[in-house]
């Protein structure tokens, strides 16, 4: 097959740009120790309310002995439960999500937090929230007629504020 010399040069430039992007991503992943989320854990979506981890009174943020947080949330048509959360900034947070019906997605704009929530599986993502403020939490996977209304709120406060809220028992998370 004959390929024009000029066309080969153009293809080489495109491939070089793609190779540059991939090497930058891989380089920074190695340098910063970034691992793609890879948790595979199954759960019975029909019995979440009976499960030890995702029963209604277990949802929200829980502080671990090392100071990090585990946030457990349930996604269902058309909302995330609990509806509001207050979380500390600059704290290692492990989000654990389950769906009680269909496939949902969760995205917190202005952060890198985004994942798909597949029924039957626990979606787990570890992250840090740097900036304090109010964030919406949106479903980004079409889940039915009410998909556009499926959202809730996260309030990110400083670590000190979060500790104070927890002591006063006002924290929804």
């Amino acid at each position: 097959m004959h390929i024009d010399k000029l066309e080969k040069k153009w293809a080489a430039i495109s491939l070089l740009i793609a190779a540059l992007f991939v090497s930058v991503i891989l380089g920074s992943a190695f340098f910063h120790g970034i691992h793609a989320p890879s948790n595979v854990e199954t759960i019975d979506s029909a019995k979440l309310h009976l499960s030890a981890e995702f029963a209604e009174d277990k949802l929200g943020a829980q502080q671990n002995p090392d100071g990090s947080l585990t946030v457990r949330m349930v996604a269902g048509r058309y909302g995330f439960f609990p509806k509001t959360l207050t979380l500390p900034a600059e704290t290692n947070i492990t989000f654990r999500w389950v769906s009680l019906d269909v496939i949902h997605g969760v995205h917190i704009p202005m952060t890198n937090m985004s994942t798909m929530i597949v029924p039957g599986y626990v979606a787990q993502v570890k992250t840090l929230l740097h900036q304090t403020g109010d964030y919406p939490m949106l479903c980004n996977e079409y889940c039915g007629m009410g998909h556009a209304h499926m959202w809730s709120n996260i309030k990110v406060v400083s670590k000190e504020q979060w500790q104070a809220l927890n002591k006063q028992g006002e924290n929804h998370g």
């Binding site: 740009i17 930058v24 691992h35 993502v125």
Partner: protein, 50 residues
């Protein structure tokens, strides 16, 4: 192009496409710079997910 002699026409067709190269360099470098700014300026500062 119609007013060119056959010799001039041949010279143009056989010469390097300077304008195209200039355009490709400007567009490619613009895209690479914009991508690097988004990656290092927006994506990484938001914190990794894992």
């Amino acid at each position: 192009m119609n007013n060119l002699t056959e010799e001039e026409r041949k010279k143009i067709l056989e010469s390097s496409p300077v304008g195209t190269w200039a355009l490709i360099i400007i567009v490619s470098s613009g895209m690479v710079i914009a991508w690097l700014l988004m990656y290092y300026g927006v994506f990484l500062p938001r914190g990794p997910i894992g």
